[in-house]
């Protein structure tokens, strides 16, 4: 019984021919892979669009911050010319 499981039993394994449809399947997967890849032009244009979007956002933020500062300055000029305080304090201590 033990002899049955001897390693020599492996000599009885026959070499098998690979099924013909494997080639078609590999070819199919190769073409699918090529189709899945995005063309370089599209990748670059997408990167450019994102970069432009970031720059525009940054500009809008910078401009809105600048406007707030000039608005504050204008209020201070008006309050000093009228002789009133721009802060919320009733008595000039």
């Amino acid at each position: 019984m033990k002899k049955e499981y001897d390693i020599e039993v492996f000599n009885r394994i026959q070499k098998v021919k690979a099924p013909a449809y494997l080639k078609t399947r590999i070819a199919g997967r190769l073409t699918a892979q090529v189709q899945e890849q995005m063309p370089l032009v599209r990748v670059y244009s997408l990167a450019l669009a994102i970069a432009i979007l970031f720059v525009m956002n940054f500009n809008v933020l910078a401009m809105s911050l600048g406007n707030k500062q000039t608005e504050l300055k204008g209020i201070e000029i008006l309050s000093t010319s009228l002789g009133i305080t721009s802060y919320n304090q009733l008595y000039n201590d």
Binding site: I7, N11, L22
Partner: protein
Amino acid sequence: MKDYESFEGVYEDHVDMVYNLCLNYLQNKEEAEEACQDVFLKVHEKWEIFSGKSSAKTYIYRISINQCLDVIKARKRQKRFGFHIPLFFTNNEENVREFELPDFNHPGIQLEDKEAIFLLFRKINRLPDSQKTALILKTIDGESIQQISEVMKTSTKAVESLLSRARANLKAMEAE
């Protein structure tokens, strides 16, 4: 070394070798077919990087073995997280091993040899990966020690040692 002008030539020359190796390693027809496809996709992808550093056969052998090891790892992971092991099994090692085995489906084995080879494969699957690789390449694929050492990136002495340890382990398993 043979120079291949097209991927098709490489495929035609090595497909049977890869398919048989996958079959012997995975012992399942469907998994071997899937692994074989993956091997050739990798060969196609890396063919330019290879550029004749070792023979095409050695290179494809290496990819095939790594692919088979990946399949086995994935199989073990799947079974660990799935519910393949019944909730009420006895704490017997042989019983647990039973559930680690794939559906044995090897078209190169005759019906009368199926049981003997299945039992031997079950023991071989318990060997460490390096011993299993050396044993399959030597005893089933009939490769030379030199070729195996190139595939496994090791010395011929190390391959001989792996083979003798694998045989000793198999004998020990038989005595269990």
